[in-house]
Structure formats: C-alpha cells, structure tokens
C-alpha cells in the first residue's frame, strides 16, 4: 500500500497541477521556533493561499543578509522576513530585492517611506531593569551612576548596533564622550542578545540592553511584574523589522500576497505575544493586556535608512576606541 501511494505521488508530482505552489521564506531562527510566530502564521496563510509556505530559519537578521549575498541571484528564497532598519540600506544595495506591492496603514511612530520593504513589527531599544532599582533618566545619569549594565557587541549583534545608533543619534559628536563615561558602567559586552539577557537574569548587571516590550514577556508569560524598561529623555532608538520580496522570485504574486498577509490582522495579532514586539498595525482587538502596562518613550529616534551604513562605520570606530582604553 505504501509503495502504491508513493508511486501515485510520483506520478502526480510530474504534472505541475497536482502540487500547490511553494513559497520559500527566509527568516531568523527565533521566528520559526515552535514557540515563535512561524507555525501559527504558516497555518493561517496556507489556509487562504492554496500554497505551501516554507519558513527557513537561519541565525539573525545579519546572518540572513549574509546568506542572501552568498547565494546571490540564484537564491531559492522568494521572501526574506526579518531584516531590520539598520540593514535596509545595505540590503537594498545588493539589488536583490524588488519593490513590494503592499498597501497598509502603519501605526508606527515614524512615517514609513520605503517602497521595497514592508514593516511587520517594531520596538524601542531600552535598558531593562528590576523595579527594585531606581533607573536613570538618560545616558548621562546612567554614566554618573554606579549602575552596571550589560550590552551587546555592535559587531555581532543587531541590538548592539541599535545602541550604537541610539547614542550617535542622540548625541552626535558628543557620542564618544558619552561612551567614555559609560565605560565603567559596562560589566561586559556579549556576542548576542541571548547572552546579555541571560547574564542580566543571573544578576550580573543591574540593567541590560533590550526592548521596551521585554517586560511584557515577564508579565504575560511568567506573571512576573518585577521587570521594567527605563525611559530615557533623549528618546529611544527604534528597531523596525521588515520583509522584502526577492527580485529573482518565481512566485512574485504569491510573495506579494504573503507580505500583504503579514500586515493583515491575522498575522499582526499573533506577533506581540510570540515575537514580543509591537505589531506594525495595531490589531482590531487592540494590544494584549501586558502591552498596555508598558511605558512608552516620549520620543522615537531613527536614523534615515540611507544614512546608516556611513554612520555605522564612524560610530563603531568611536565605540571601539572609547571602550578599548
């Protein structure tokens, strides 16, 4: 019987009709984990597209882009999901992406003007702390305090890069001085977000660079209200996560359909409690409970996407020399 089925499948496979079109989406690892948004979104999209949606997880946003550059035009991917604002300009420069045909009314603190990439969720970088301490109100206060922080290395991690841009955006030419003053607050610098957050939870530091939405996880998933994000009066740098359609896709319509789906209520309502970020469009039912208890920054900071690569070079050199002493 088994062989019969196998033979039948093979027969049908030869006629293209029998097999639904396959859409390959490259994304970061945590998206496709069993507890990430991947499985729910896959089921929901496949229910309406008559297609086979295949998520392929690999590392983080930077790894995604490196992978695409390695594969070049012959990539199997139709859509890439999970690049962020600091990578958008570099990604565009590759010429591998095609403009998206998606319409949406975004609830972002900034206006989204890019026609190639579609934002699906976003967050503010922030220092997360235990409510037992009284948090500083800005970087200067932090630098003057005895508080210890863990941050991520901007050379290996996207939040680390975010912090770099944050300080640069807020302080411009004064950024090196801020970093020098922060040096004695920094317990250590880690390879990625997970290590830093792990160290923080183990009590190695008073604060860790993460997102304003991080306390929502502890609140909702762990019923733990002891964590909070410190709000800085310089404003908070944003990370917007985006999806893009590859120019070499063999399923351009399906790709557009998927990206449109990502900003639909079905996908957007899943993201807050699986990706622990703000959805790009507030779901009809509103944000989940824990999210309403989060503090919101007064001011959103974001460098223009095109300015990021050059500023990154400069800020990285400043960061290295300030902290290497």
């Amino acid at each position: 019987m088994k062989y019969l089925t196998l033979a039948a499948t093979t027969l049908f496979a030869t006629s293209a009709l029998a097999e639904p079109a396959q859409l390959v989406v490259y994304t970061y690892d945590s998206f496709v984990a069993d507890w990430g948004p991947g499985s729910v979104i896959e089921a929901a999209f496949e229910a309406e597209c008559d297609c086979d949606l295949k998520f392929v997880g690999m590392g983080d946003g930077a790894a995604l882009l490196a992978r695409l550059k390695l594969e070049g035009a012959r990539s199997d991917a139709d859509v890439v999901l999970g690049l962020d604002t600091s990578l958008v300009a570099t990604a565009k420069d590759t010429g591998l992406f095609a403009p998206a045909k998606v319409t949406a009314d975004y609830d972002l603190p900034v206006t989204w003007g890019d026609d190639t990439f579609v934002p699906y969720d976003w967050g503010y970088f922030a220092f997360v702390h235990d409510k037992k301490i009284s948090p500083p109100k800005n970087f200067r206060e932090l630098a003057d305090s005895d508080l210890k922080i863990v941050i991520q290395d901007p050379r290996s991690s996207t939040p680390g890069l975010g912090l770099l841009m944050w300080v640069k955006d807020a302080y411009g030419d004064e950024a090196p001085a801020i970093w020098e003053r922060l040096a004695d607050n920094i317990v250590t610098v880690t390879k990625g977000w997970s290590e830093a957050y792990g160290l923080f939870l183990e009590g190695e530091a008073d604060m860790v660079l993460s997102y304003t939405t991080s306390p929502a996880y502890h609140l909702i998933a762990e019923k733990d209200a002891t964590k909070a994000a410190a709000i800085f009066d310089e404003g908070h740098y944003m990370q917007i996560e985006v999806a893009g359609k590859l120019a070499g896709t063999d399923q351009p319509e399906l790709a557009d359909k998927f990206m449109q789906f990502m900003v639909s209520d079905a996908a957007q309502s899943v993201l807050p409690t699986t990706n622990w970020m703000y959805p790009a469009i507030t779901p009809e039912a509103g944000l989940p409970d824990g999210f309403n208890q989060l503090v919101e920054p007064e001011k959103a900071l974001l460098m223009p996407n095109d300015a990021v690569p050059a500023l990154r070079e400069e800020a990285l050199a400043e960061w290295l020399s300030a902290l290497s002493q």
């Binding site: 690892d29 997880g57 490196a66 290996s156 250590t188 160290l199 183990e202 902290l323």
Partner: protein, 518 residues
C-alpha cells in the same frame, strides 16, 4: 632503536590527510574567490591578533601546568569516586560555551557564590571580567582535557617501571625525574599546542568574560567580517593569519616531541608503591580536591538551574536531542575513518610535525570552512540536503586534533614495542589493525570516540548555513529558547544536553576500557 619497525600502509593515512587539507584549502579558496580585495588588515585587526595570541598562550600554559599535579595525583591514587571524577573531567569541555559561561558566572560572577562568600566575611568582591576571566574560563574548559591527556599517558607507563622504582625505593622526586619527566616531555608540548589552538578560536568566552572590545579575538573579527561587513577578503585574510599562528605553533610543538618509547609491559593492572609519604599524600589530596571543587561548582550551578527548568522544557527539545545524537554518532564514524589511518601514517614518520595537519580544521575557523563549503556546494546541490554529512564532517574536523593527540602517542609506542614482532609474523594491512592496533589502542579509541560524540552534541552545528529546518540540533534549540526569553526552559535543555553528552562520552570511554585490564 634504529629499527624501522612498521608495516602500516601509509597510503590511506596520506589520503585522509590530503582530504583534510584539500577540503580546508578549498573552503579558503572559495571564500577568496568570491572576495573583492578591499584592503589589508587594519590596526584593530592587529590588536585583535595580539590579544588572541596572548590569551591563548596564557590559557595553554596554565591549563597544561596545572594539569600535571592533578594527573599525577589521579594516576597514583585509588579512591572511591575516582572513575566518576575522571568521567566528569569530560564535562566542562563539552558544555556549550554560553552554558559554561553562565555556570562560571554563577560561581565567580558579580552575584556569584564566591562574592557572596567574600561578602559574608567582609571582603571586597572580585571581578571575573578581564584577561584573567578569559584565562580562568579557558582553564575551566581545558584543564580537564589536559588532565585526561596526561593521565592517559601516565597510565601507559608499564607497571614494571613503577615496580622497579619501588624496588629501588626511589624518592618521589627521583620517580618524577626518571619516569615522569621523560613522559611529560613527550606529552606536554602537544597538549599545550592543542589547547593553544582551541583558545585561539575562542570568541564568545573571550568577549563575554573579557569585559569589552579590548578582548576582541581574531575569530570575532572573522565573524564580523562575514556577518556584518560581508567583507570576504578580510575574513579570508584573518583566517589565514589564524591558520598561520596555529599551524606554526602546532608544528613547532609537535616537532620538538622526542620520539622515544616508554617501553612495553604486560598489561598488568597498575599498582603503585611509591608516594605513600605524608607530604605527597597531602599534595595529591589538595590537587584532586581543588580541581574537583573548581570544576564541579560551575557544573553544579548548571545542574541546579537545569533541574528547575526541566519542567518547562518543550517537546521540541527532545526531538532535537534525537537529531543531536544521530549527528554525534555519524561524526564518530566519520572521525574514526579519518583519524585512524592518519594516526597510522603519522607514527611511521620520524617526527610528529605531520600531526599539525589535524589542527587545520580547528584553526581555520569553522565559520570560514562552513562559508567556503557553502559557496562551493550551493551552485550544485541543496545545502540543506547535505546538512547532516556536512555537519558530521565539520564536527569530525574539529575533533580530529584532539583525537590524534589521544591516539598518536600510544600508537607510536605500540608500534615501537611490537613492530618487530608484527614484522616477523608478516602482519600487515587489515589484520595488523584488527589484531594489533585496534585492540592495543581500544581505551584510547573509546576515549576519542566519546570525546568526539560529546563535542558533536555540544556543537552549534555549521553556523546556521547548513542547518535545515528538520535538523535543529539540541544546542541550537537551546539558543532559540534563550532568544525567546525562555531562560528557564533553556537551562533545562542545557541540562539535557549535558546529560546526553556525558552519557555518550561515558558509554564510549567505558566501552574502551572494558576488560582492558587483562
């Protein structure tokens, strides 16, 4: 001993060595081929190279020196729990980096047990972050490995030698000079070189415990070049520098190893009559006691955290555990089929320098090898379809230097002792392996296989590039849990990983020693 005493065919071994070199060179060339040459290495790169060499040298020297009293004590003492301790020596080495770092921090960190204890007695806290922290962590990882390598060598000293020493009532100092120093001269350089190369490619440990960008290693620079800058030319240049330092050091260390044999014995179980004196006993108890405390406290921290998180560990973790076990087993098979012929070839050579070939894989940066192979494979085949063989092959490459270090010295001895006998018997080819080498080296092969299996379990796989959706390994799953804030579940997964790795290690290591004491 000027006899030429071997009839091991070197063809297979040379073939295996060529395969290793070719696959690694191919990876490097592939990366260079795709690279556009931008610029040479900058001052930041050179300072990374200096820091890397410094910390690797310190870690290697310290790990190796500290291992001497520990291995010596373990070799001449019999006590309850000794076997368990020897198995546990494998644990730090096979822990995924982040797990081990969290374990170390639970003990030595700002909020760790050590500082809590210091605060109790009113002393100022100590900080683990800095060069000393990096070295401490590397000693934690590598002291056990060095100890096992030395202990293994110590146990190859025939009982007859110690009988002789007991007969002549040699003082511990004289035993050390006459029996143990010649042995150490043979074992220490290779062990130190191996640890040097391991620490050379350290990245997350060095950065996290180094406390900042001044603790940048070459491997981090390579990672940055690949991931953020996509500067393949810089990545390849850095890999070459790393390869050059590692290869040069290793070749030098292996070359100065004298090729004298320790001599044969009749496999009588080792009983020691020396070192019964009070001072020696105290020193040994100290060496074993301190090491046990130093190694077991961070592991205990991992276990305590893990037990608490075990209940929250999702089912996917168990599936990944299955994948990891399969990867480990395949890696062992691949490794042995490369390592054994290579070892056979190396022992036929007058000097040990050729063993440096085995270090290439470890030294060339897994990231570079993985990327290079990806560039080569991607145009002709689906990288995901090759995930399993590629992962197994890379794991085998990473384990190769350890395994050669474990197998080559005793194989050299075996060949020197029984070479003439095998030649008069006309023993060659497969029968030579079947009836002499494999049974003589069974304990070492078991240890090597166990180590490879455990290493493969703890390995993160070939850096995302080849990790297909269906072959998510346990360490990767653990990182995913951490990435989703689920630190408790991740701690549970880490405990499972630790248990499985140690289990695989124990089964093979034990299997190798089963009935070995005829």
């Amino acid at each position: 001993m000027a006899f030429s005493t071997v009839s091991i065919s070197s063809k297979l071994g040379i073939g295996a060595a060529i395969l290793v070199v070719a696959l690694i060179l191919a990876a490097l060339l592939a990366v260079l081929w795709r690279a556009e040459f931008n610029s040479g290495l900058g001052p930041a790169d050179w300072s990374a190279i200096r820091f890397t060499a410094l910390q690797a040298t310190m870690s290697a020297v310290l790990s190796t020196l500290l291992a001497i009293p520990v291995a010596r004590a373990l070799a001449r003492r019999r006590f309850r729990g000794r076997g368990l301790l020897v198995t546990l020596l494998g644990a730090p080495f096979i822990l995924p980096v982040i797990v081990a770092v969290l374990g170390l921090l639970a003990v030595f960190g700002r909020a760790g047990w050590l500082n809590a204890g210091l605060a109790q007695v009113g002393l100022a806290p100590v900080s683990i972050y800095g060069l000393h922290g990096v070295v401490l962590a590397h000693v934690f990882f590598n002291l056990p490995l060095a100890t096992r390598l030395l202990l293994q060598a110590w146990q190859t000293i025939p009982a007859e030698r110690f009988r002789l020493a007991a007969q002549m009532n040699l003082t511990p100092h004289a035993v050390f000079r006459s029996i143990e120093v010649p042995l150490l001269r043979q074992i220490l350089p290779g062990t130190a070189a191996l640890i040097f190369v391991i620490c050379l490619t350290s990245f997350a440990v060095a950065l996290t415990l180094g406390g900042g960008p001044s603790a940048t290693t070459v491997e981090l620079a390579i990672y940055q070049a690949f991931r953020f800058d996509f500067d393949l030319s810089r990545a390849a240049q850095l890999s070459l520098v790393q390869l050059g330092i590692a290869g040069g050091t290793a070749a030098l260390a292996l070359w100065i190893i004298p090729t004298v044999s320790i001599g044969g014995g009749f496999d009588r179980s080792l009983h020691r009559w020396d070192a019964q004196g009070g001072l020696q006993r105290v020193l040994d108890i100290l060496a074993i006691g301190l090491t046990t405390v130093f190694l077991s406290l961070p592991i205990a921290a991992v276990v305590i955290r893990g037990v608490a998180g075990l209940a929250e560990t999702p089912a996917a973790v168990w599936h990944s555990a299955g994948v990891s076990i399969i990867v480990a087993l395949i890696s062992i098979v691949v490794l042995l089929s490369i390592a054994l012929p290579m070892a056979g070839w190396i022992v036929t050579r007058p000097r040990g320098g050729s063993e440096a070939v085995g270090l290439l894989g470890l030294a060339a940066s897994p990231l570079t090898i993985g990327t290079g192979w990806f560039i080569l494979i991607n145009p002709v085949a689906d990288p995901f379809a090759l995930a399993l063989p590629v992962t197994a092959l890379i794991n085998a490459f990473m384990a190769l230097p350890f395994v050669l270090r474990i197998i080559v010295p005793p194989m050299r001895d075996t060949v020197q002792i029984y070479g003439r006998l095998t030649q008069t018997l006309g023993l060659g080819g497969w029968p030579l392996w079947r009836w002499m080498i494999l049974p003589r080296l069974r304990p070492q092969i078991g240890f090597a296989a166990g180590l490879t299996g455990a290493l493969s379990m703890g390995d993160l796989g070939v850096i995302a590039l080849f990790a297909s959706p269906d072959t998510v390994t346990l360490p990767l799953q653990m990182y995913r849990l951490m990435g989703a804030y689920r630190m408790d579940a991740a701690a549970g997964a880490a405990l499972i990983l630790l248990a499985l790795s140690l289990g695989i290690f124990w089964i093979f290591d034990k299997g190798g020693r089963w009935h070995a004491q005829a």
